[in-house]
């Protein structure tokens, strides 16, 4: 399966996966093969990336390595640790190796800890169970927490008292407690903010170097792999399509799939002063936000948005970038008129979004259309595509009868590229892929002929290869229909690739506004610089600072 395992070098591998196959019994009782005979070997101290899109079998692979698959799984092949097949005797032969030899870090740091025990107790437990000398345990716990940069006293705290980044550090500390030789890290940074993500990744790399720890890093993000691993395996529907040095994969990928994956990954470093639309018209802008403030009263009174002003022109794609909690979502909701606490002025093509008049609100509802983050949840599962698209028309009483409405619906489906429309009209959401669902959600906004689209992280939950399609569609809609688009995102590199203008927000304020190449290449604010530095580039030659 892996003819070009380039690392058949000097040292014997610490971990070797040989022809691993995994079948899952589905509800109909058939075995479905999700991992189709993959082979990998990991040298001591080596960092290997396992890359692929959701459902490709990468998580299953590492769960199988540690014998953690559910009961409906059947496993074939061998997992060799130091040359010994640990899978041969089932759970019984894997267990002695867990944590002592092979430890694991899960993506769900939020829920990886037992919520009713302290962090210290849980690390101690691992030490005690694996026969660590009881007298040294408390000191060892403190040492471990120090190793991952957590302050003293963390061992006495409960999981819910730590932030996401701190929890992930604590998870790593726990994983290192028994001095394993191999660490399996499953999307260790995905749920975290980009700056924190960068710190955790650096920590992992540093610890692996210092402790001689071999790491398999499972991720969907090529940038993460390029910045932290020397070798990578690309997985696609249960097979390894390509394995090799990261630089080789980046510069001369042998497989089309790898190439497509790299092409779809935006690279912040390749943002050039491209021919962006410089929309400078004398007419009033489509959307103008003046001195918007949102103060949430109550026990935890705080200023979510602190006096921001910006504008979006017709036919302009503006990205509002910032980390979670920076106020970008509140801003978006204020423009939709959903935040009664908002003060200041928001004007959408002559209509005030903060007005409480019924007629204004009604007009606003058809002028401004939202696109939400999660395409799996943005459609009612009991509605067909046609029903979903008809609903806004019914609400706003557009079209006299179903036939007229169907005309509008067909038009909208065509403009989002779901053709031939007949194929889609009567489908239910579960019969559509993620990208198609997001297109349907966009079409549901378009039927009302809006002037402004408000997109809330429209692609963050989609696979990389689908993202560019949806973003290109948005860019196309803006050019073709003259729509204004305001997109909020935490991902500066995506924003830089598609937006005409970028607005960077932090703690309720705008820190910087400008064209993407200016922002990326000549940021004027240190926070913007920090954001840029935190983004892992898919080009392994460009080390993140």
């Amino acid at each position: 399966m892996s003819p070009m395992n380039a690392h058949d070098g000097d040292m014997p591998p610490v971990l070797e996966i040989r022809d691993l196959r995994v079948w899952f019994k589905n509800d109909e009782g058939e075995d479905v093969e999700t991992v189709r005979g993959i082979s990998l070997s990991l040298a001591p101290g080596e960092r290997l990336g396992l890359v692929g899109e959701s459902g490709c079998g990468k998580t299953t692979t590492i769960l199988a390595t540690l014998g953690l698959l559910p009961a409906n799984a059947t496993v074939g092949g061998q997992i060799l640790f130091d040359g010994e097949d640990i899978l041969a005797g089932g759970d019984a032969t894997v267990r002695p190796h867990r944590w002592k030899d092979i430890a694991m870090v899960f993506q769900g740091a939020m829920s990886a800890f037992n919520p009713v025990k302290t962090i210290g107790w849980q690390i101690e437990e691992a030490l005690r169970v694996h026969g660590f000398d009881a007298r040294g345990v408390p000191a060892r716990v403190r040492e471990l927490l120090g190793l991952v940069g957590l302050p003293e006293g963390t061992e006495k705290r409960y999981p819910h008292e730590l932030s996401g980044g701190m929890k992930q550090r604590a998870v790593i500390a726990m994983a290192l407690s028994c001095e394993p030789k191999v660490l399996l890290a499953d999307e260790p940074t995905t749920a975290l903010d980009v700056v924190v993500q960068h710190q955790i990744l650096q920590l992992l790399v540093e610890l692996s170097d210092r402790l001689g720890l071999a790491v398999i890093l499972v991720t969907h993000d090529l940038g993460v792999v390029a910045q932290s691993c020397s070798r990578a395996a690309v997985m696609h529907s249960g097979d390894i399509v390509e394995i090799g040095q990261v630089s080789q994969l980046y510069h001369e990928p042998a497989s089309d799939y790898t190439r497509a994956l790299f092409e779809a990954t935006p690279d912040i470093n390749s943002v050039a002063a491209a021919d962006r639309r410089s929309v400078a018209s004398d007419a009033a802008p489509l959307l103008s936000v003046q001195d918007l403030r949102v103060r949430y009263p109550g026990k935890h009174e705080h200023l979510a948005v602190d006096g921001i002003s910006f504008a979006v022109e017709r036919g302009e794609f503006v990205a509002l970038v910032g980390q979670s909690g920076c106020g970008k979502t509140t801003t978006l909701q204020s423009i939709m008129g959903l935040i009664p606490e908002a003060t200041g002025a928001i004007d959408v093509s002559g209509t005030s979004a903060l007005s409480s008049r019924r007629a204004d609100r009604r007009r606003l509802r058809s002028l401004v259309q939202p696109i939400f983050q999660d395409p799996y949840e943005s459609l009612d599962v009991r509605f067909t595509v046609a029903d979903t698209l008809e609903e806004p028309l019914l609400i706003h009483r557009v079209g006299g009868n179903r036939r007229e409405r169907l005309e509008v619906i067909r038009g909208a489906l065509e403009s989002v590229g779901l053709t031939p429309t007949e194929q889609y009209l009567n489908r239910y959401p579960h019969q559509l892929s993620g990208g198609q669902r997001q297109r349907v959600a966009i079409a549901a906004g378009l039927v009302l002929n809006p002037a402004l689209l408000l997109a809330d992280e429209p692609v963050s939950m989609l696979d990389v290869s689908v993202r560019s399609g949806v973003l290109k569609l948005l860019a196309e809609l803006k050019d073709r229909e003259g729509l204004g688009i305001l997109m909020i995102t935490h991902d500066l590199s995506t924003a830089a690739e598609y937006a005409d203008r970028i607005v960077v927000m932090r703690e309720g304020r705008i820190v910087e506004t400008g064209a993407p190449d200016e922002i990326v290449n000549h940021p004027s604010d240190p926070y913007t610089q920090l954001l840029i530095d935190s983004i892992p580039s898919p080009d392994p030659g460009l080390a993140a600072a």
Binding site: E33, A71, Q107, G108, P370, V381
Partner: protein, 332 residues
């Protein structure tokens, strides 16, 4: 944006659950336990509909001796007044089930109204309604029912209203928490953002999603209502003129059926109650379990994953899973 609190494991899980919610009720009702439960309920409903045709004797007139044991003529024997027990149980079933289902319906209507208002609008509406619910939850209902029934006087109507009006709290809580999560669903927010009215959102997007949940809590409410009816009847607080299962048991008990050894005067009614409750419970439980995605995965199952020996991978060959023609319609 809040960092998506999803994990590798929850992501595919959630997708699957939204996909399948369409058929949650249908899947649940295909479980063997649900089929047994449904059959029991159906049998009881049929029996009470056709009770007048099925009853062998009159429930008013004496047809045999006092506490006559079961015989070919009187399958379940006779009670202290020489009345055929089978006839009593059949007729009592009509009234008991009427009480149970009506009271449950009242409870479900009140409970879902409170739950929807509370969960959908949140804020002070939620605070006020949930405070009221909390008080009702804490105060022991059976005692309140006893007091109200005692003060108002015994009548079937009172019993139904009292049971129904005090039993809604559990439904209200479940519905509220479900509506709260539905409220946060992206498609609900989307319809809200395009200007859909609250009424529209509730009727078109929220209520239909609650269907299976309401069905489950409805049948479970029937069990509680029937229980409460028999308890009230046993304490002499049911309508003295109506025969219910509870009344049959109460009469048998107060008229010394037990010390006489006339078990047949009490057993048929007791078993009937138990069977109906069993049926409702099995159905309600099957639906609730099907709705609970957290029951679907277990990291600690008794059986662990299996090993397929290396050699056998060839003959298994599930590489390109292709359904046989007969299975084609099974699922898409």
């Amino acid at each position: 944006m809040t960092a998506p609190g999803t994990t590798v494991f929850s992501l595919p899980k959630r997708r699957r659950s939204t996909d399948r919610r369409r058929g949650a009720l249908a899947t649940a009702l295909r479980q063997p336990s649900a089929i047994i439960g449904l059959s029991i309920i159906a049998a009881f409903v049929l029996m009470s509909i056709f009770a007048p045709l099925l009853t062998p004797y009159s429930s008013k007139a004496v047809s045999c001796g006092v506490f006559e044991p079961p015989s070919a003529a009187h399958w379940f024997g006779c009670d202290d007044g020489g009345i055929d027990v089978l006839t009593l149980v059949l007729e009592g079933g009509r009234v008991s089930m009427w009480v149970g289902f009506t009271a449950a319906a009242i409870a479900i209507v009140i409970g879902s109204a409170v739950g929807i208002l509370s969960g959908y609008f949140g804020g002070w509406v939620d605070t006020v309604l949930m405070r009221i619910t909390d008080y009702f939850l804490v105060i022991p209902q059976i005692v309140l029912m006893i007091v109200i029934a005692a003060v108002w006087g015994p009548s079937l109507g009172h019993v139904i209203v009292v049971i129904g009006a005090l039993m809604w709290t559990a439904t209200a809580r479940i519905v509220r928490s479900q509506v709260k999560t539905l409220r946060e669903r992206v498609y609900v927010r989307r319809v809200e953002a395009i200007g859909g009215s609250h009424l529209r959102i509730i009727m078109r997007h929220i209520l239909p999603q609650l269907g299976p949940l309401l069905a489950a809590s409805g049948v479970l409410a029937v069990t509680v209502a029937v229980f409460n009816e028999t308890a009230l009847a046993f304490l002499g607080l049911s309508d003295p003129n109506a025969i219910t299962w509870g009344v049959i048991m109460e009469r048998a008990f107060t008229r010394a059926a037990i010390s006489t050894g006339a078990w047949w005067a009490i057993v048929p009614a007791g078993i009937a109650v138990a069977l109906l409750i069993l049926g409702c419970y099995l159905v309600g439980r099957a639906i609730e379990d099907a709705l609970n995605p957290r029951l679907k995965i277990s990291h600690l199952a008794l059986r662990t994953w299996a090993i397929r020996p290396l050699g056998s991978t060839e003959d298994a060959k599930p590489r390109a899973p292709r359904k046989s023609p007969t299975e084609k319609g099974a699922g898409s």
